[in-house]
Symmetry: C2
Subunit: 378 residues, 2 copies
DNA sequence: TTTGTGTGTTTGAACGTTCAAATCGTTCAA
DNA sequence: TTGAACGATTTGAACGTTCAAACACACAAA
């Protein structure tokens, strides 16, 4: 059973061997790599050739030890509800790794040690061991302890998701409210005059922003709008309703992820029931915007249960995230696509700026989304 | 605008300071950390206290440089079709990071540089820079060039997904065929005698195994079975059909990921059409197993389009992967849950064994799945 | 001729840790 | 009493790189 050659884990080519081969000193090889402009073109050529022929690559540990630069960014994976994971994390991570790679940086993934690990402790370990130059955080909440902690530590960081007004503004985020406003305009352009919104977990900033964006734009356009909390509550608070230019009543659903933790199967039917009730009532909405693609499934179900077709002829439906699910639905689901590559690029750019000690931009960056129109509304 | 204290990136506590504080030498501190049994209990106590009080953690770069151990595992993220990403990658990565963390290892994420990057080159870079002790590969195909390459390099590796018979057997995988056989038994136990299967991308080993497992178990139980290629083809090859103990005809759909690359929207409707045709035909199946949760959506659509209910009373449906989607469908979708934490644990265990130079197990490891029964079949 | 100013290259030291070998006591067998 | 063996600890060196400073040389200005 041949297993390949004895692996030469130790003893890879060093800078010294390259130097000897090129007839120069250690440092010149180092310069050729890190500051080519300091090396005479002819010498550079000789060194480059030697590097190529010997297949040399600097040992990253030695580099880091001496220079202090780790060339690695840490990504703190959010600990989300395994039953309700953030639907875009996989795609975001890919984009992040690509963006980092384009800048010569690697991405180190880490998580609080389960069970119920402390993210702050995980950050401390990584930083104390000097394994990363900077940190990328995601799923940032209002008053997030992680933000306060990394700011105190003084390690460069950025976040996908905006931080509070009193905190450092090193964030990149999508314009959740504007995205939902665009959805409302899209539906209005199709002739819809009474539209509904189905949300969930409204204490999450991005969810709250989507709902707010929906209501604001509907009011601006003089549409009649109904916003449903998607959470399960027997009697529950009254949904936000306003007609025409009336004022918006405020409410907050009582339960969130905390209340739902530990459940085996969520009480999704109540969301369906709420939408059905609306569809049966007077002035039923002719269109529904959902706060996520998965929530749109509940809307589909409610619409069909009421014997109506989903789509422009019946009840139009839109989602959020543009997950692969959208294309597999019938009709395919109109959804909001996030510019993950742009987000990742901006995050990496800003983070490296901070790592290099450049002055930080005074404000966060808000990126636009793209509405992908499909059969469910077009 | 206060920005936190000047960050002390350089100048963190070193082993020397700890040694001084504890009144011992460098090496004793090192021993206390790496080989506590060599240190007298009383001394160990003093050192441990000093470490805690000074908040010392060894610099990972210095450690790696001297000892050669990187304490980091590389995960080569597969470059999958962005329109059809592997649905379990996010969950698998989380499990992998946790399993690695439990062994004191970090996970470094890397990808071939886009566009159209070469995975082999990406591996070479990482290995040449000595940034990882071992590699985890995923989505392994038959005759995968990555496997041959890492075997040749001699770097320890493991794969999620089995390797070919001529290759090293350092893999962990789920029993795709057994999982689908369990689905068939589940449906048979519910009284179904004629069942259908909807697959896609059957040249992928795991998809082929699911299909094969379905057909084999159906035959064993004497059921009548129909397996549909889920791919879009106008006339397409005839689906595999067998009744009772008859022999299985073979076919292969003409197009796969390659043929589908670059498309904006997939031709999913044809899968729906194929299922509908089957449902309209004589001896229509009373149950359908799908090769993934997303494919189950097509089955739902087909069943409803034929005016039948999804569920035990009408046409039973099952999926694969147990994604969050399952719980949001109406009725909720019965699906096959993958033991991601067990897989990750086994992979990390085997990989570290190889890193330490222990003898490799002679064979791969196949882990069982779990059937989660929900409304669509229960 | 001397001095100054670059440009390109080399040399010595250092980064923080662990390895390998040496040292210092103690205990036990000869 | 010697010395062999062991356990606990220390010392010197090394891992492979980059920093900081020194050096060599060419060329222009005084």
């Amino acid at each position: 059973m041949p297993e390949g050659p004895q692996r030469p884990r130790r003893g890879a080519t060093t800078i010294e061997e390259v130097a000897r081969a090129a007839g120069v000193s250690r440092q010149t090889v180092s310069n050729a790599l890190n500051a080519p402009h300091r090396v005479r073109p002819e010498t550079l050529d000789r060194v480059t050739t030697a590097i190529r022929e010997l297949g040399y690559q600097p040992d990253q540990s030695a580099r880091s030890l001496r220079s202090g630069a780790r060339r690695t960014l840490g990504y703190l994976a959010p600990v989300d509800d395994p039953l309700d994971p953030n639907p875009l994390m996989a795609g975001f991570l890919e984009a992040l790794v690509d963006a980092a790679g384009a800048e010569g940086q690697r991405v180190l993934l880490f998580r609080p040690a389960p069970p119920a690990g402390d993210p702050v402790a995980a950050i401390d370990e990584l930083v104390a061991a000097r394994q990363v130059d900077g940190l990328v955080l995601a799923d940032v909440l209002a008053e997030d302890t992680r933000i306060a902690h990394v700011a105190r530590l003084g390690i460069p960081f950025v976040s996908f998701g905006r931080t509070g007004p009193g905190e450092p503004q090193h964030w990149v985020d999508i314009a959740n409210d504007a995205a939902m406003a665009a959805v409302v305009r899209h539906l209005a352009a199709l002739g819809h005059r009474r539209i509904g919104y189905l949300g969930v977990d409204e204490e999450l900033p991005w969810m709250a922003a989507r709902r707010a964006g929906f209501l604001a734009e509907a009011r601006r356009l003089g549409l009649s709008a109904v916003a449903l909390p998607g959470a399960a509550g027997e009697a529950g608070p009254a949904p936000v309703v306003h007609d025409g230019p009336a004022d918006v009543a405020s409410d907050r659903p009582a339960d969130g992820p905390a209340a739902r933790a530990g459940r085996e199967e969520p009480a999704a039917p109540s969301a369906v029931a709420a939408v059905r009730a609306l569809l049966r009532g007077p002035d039923r909405p002719t269109a529904f915007a959902a706060g996520s693609d998965l929530l749109a499934l509940d809307v589909y179900e409610a619409v069909r249960a009421e014997g109506l077709p989903v789509g422009p002829g019946g009840v139009a439906v839109t989602g959020f995230h543009d997950t692969p699910l959208c294309r597999h639905l019938h009709p395919a689901l109109t959804s909001v696509r996030l510019p993950l590559r742009a987000i990742a690029g901006a995050l990496v750019g800003r983070l490296l700026g901070r790592v290099r000690g450049e002055a930080a931009p005074a404000a966060g960056l808000e990126l636009p989304t793209e509405l992908v129109v499909r059969g469910s509304s077009g």
